[in-house]
Amino acid sequence: MPSVSIKVPGGSRITIPHYPVDMVGAGERASSFTKRSIKKESKLDALYLAITMTDLTTLEGADTPGKVKQLCGKAISPVPAHYLQEIKRLAPDKKIRPIPSVAAICVYPEMVPIARKCLEGSGVELASVATAFPAGQLSLDLKLKDVARAIKFGATEIDMVIDRGAFLRGDYQKVFDEIVAVKDICEDRAHLKVILETGELKTLDNVRFASTMAMEAGADFIKTSTGKVTPAATMPVTLVMLQAIWDYYQQTGKKIGMKPAGGIRTAKQAVHYLVMVNEVLGADWLHPKMFRFGASSLLNDLLRQIFKQYTGQYYYQDIFSLD
């Protein structure tokens, strides 16, 4: 089996296998997770859980302080007041659980100070993309400065991108070293999520290898995509990454988190992902500390479906915020 030898800090070397992945098999298995029938109470539980796992994201050139503030407000309290009143009116006999806050906000480093202020005391984490997101095409010292600034501003989670150019030309050592260097800066101050940008890695073999390498280098989470490249998160890609997490857990006893990002827009998709996580990794990973959705429009659909579960009716789309 082909493998790649990587030099780790301290001078010794590790060997990371470069498994071939059965693409058709991965696609088939991933689609099998979409066939489960999750209804009523279980569905409601899944929808609530998905909210607590959402990293509400805005990563646009046009981001403004106002938009970030609005998003923070939504992250802490995702629904307008009349939403729950309306559910109570239409379903007076049902016990209605309050809508939880999302897991985190995900913004550019420049927006971190604004978000920090808004999120204070709310329990919502603050993630910042860094390392020259989304392309990752800068020198290492600038990338590290980017990370250090984000942490200084108050980010509690760092979403770094790997250098796909280096990866695709076979310079795996560079990719590995960069993750190690970023991890050194994060230390215990911030959680490190490593974005593989699977849409640019092209093959599942590469995805599998990059996942293992990122975990060996110190990633706390591995994340599929920046959301700027198509395809972003898909079920087969996520499945391969989850299996890499499982194998790494078997070998080392360390539990690494997973974050699919980009393209997950509907509650139905979110439930499919939760089913997959549960069946591949088990219930230990069904927790915001271990699994996240990188999304923006997903939240509104989750809220619509929760309304439907309680009342049997679909609520207005325009009642929620646009993002």
């Binding site: 239409l90 049997g312 009716q313 679909y314 609520y315 207005y316 789309q317």
Partner: protein
């Protein structure tokens, strides 16, 4: 070669099977049609909602061109419609052609009205003060059409088009007499440069769908053309809560009144001299 047909639903510009997988035979096994489920309806509403954004923002002139193109497409499919009416309804050649003519005539009528109805019913209002005061019609949003049990091609086209003129999107539940008309009719809409989701055609049972149509908040109005009093009551009752407008009795074809049932009026005050 004769092939067995399963006529698909028309949702979001695509020819979709029902997500429930259900079909049923119609018109003495002329074909099978899909039995739309509540989820199919929900998906149609999502499609119609996004279709309406693009449709209502097109210029009135462009909407007119697109509806006129429907007339052209319908004319091009004359043989297909005539053959369908003759086979399933035992209509004579003359009668079948007349039915197609009625449909085409409605397409043309409403195409002509797209860039005229606003001038016809909008107004400049006399007000006491230094203001211009205008009233103009705007689209309502997603409109559900529950069609008649009695098949009348011209009337079905008329009902759909009268909703489209104002910039609304339509989800039509076709009646049980000839649900197979969905096949050629959906092809007319699919080839007329109409944005996806503006017209959605469903076949299925009113019994299953009445309640969900009436209770979906995003459906802003219902054109109720079915004969069933029982379901009319259901629709009325379920619509009270979300204040949908129910429009029954679309009897007279090709009339401005039909368009006015599906518009809302906006009045604007504008200071003079600013």
């Amino acid at each position: 070669m004769k092939i067995e047909k399963t006529i698909k639903l028309f949702i979001n510009g695509q020819f979709a099977r029902s997500e429930s997988g259900r079909t049923y035979p119609v018109n003495d096994n002329y074909a099978r049609v899909c039995q739309a489920s509540k989820k199919d309806f929900r998906n149609s509403v999502d499609a119609a909602k996004s279709g309406e954004k693009s449709w209502s923002s097109k210029s009135a002139y462009n909407r007119s061109q697109i509806i006129y193109r429907m007339a052209e497409m319908c004319e091009g499919k004359r043989d297909q419609f005539v053959s369908l009416f003759k086979t399933t309804l035992s209509a004579s050649d003359k009668k079948a052609n007349e039915m197609v003519d009625e449909g085409i005539s409605s397409f043309v009528y409403y195409a002509g009205f797209c860039d005229k109805y606003s001038q016809t019913i909008g107004s400049v209002n006399p007000v006491s003060g230094p203001f211009h005061n205008f009233t103009t019609p705007e689209s309502v949003g997603v409109v559900a059409l529950i069609d008649s049990d009695e098949f009348n091609f011209g009337a079905t086209v008329d009902r759909i088009c009268s909703i489209l003129v104002g910039g609304n999107s339509v989800i039509a539940l076709l009646g049980p007499t000839l649900p197979a008309v969905l096949a050629p009719l959906s092809e007319v809409f699919a080839t007329s440069d109409l944005p996806a989701g503006v017209v959605n055609l469903l076949t299925g049972h009113l019994e299953e769908l009445a309640e969900v149509i009436a209770s979906h908040r995003e459906v802003r109005s219902i054109s109720y053309q079915n004969e069933s009093k029982k379901f009319y009551e259901t629709v009325r009752e379920k619509s009270v809560d979300n204040m949908k407008r129910i429009v029954p009795n679309h009897k007279e074809l090709k009339s401005l009144e039909n368009i006015l049932s599906f518009v809302e009026y906006k009045t604007v005050w504008h200071p003079i001299g600013v």
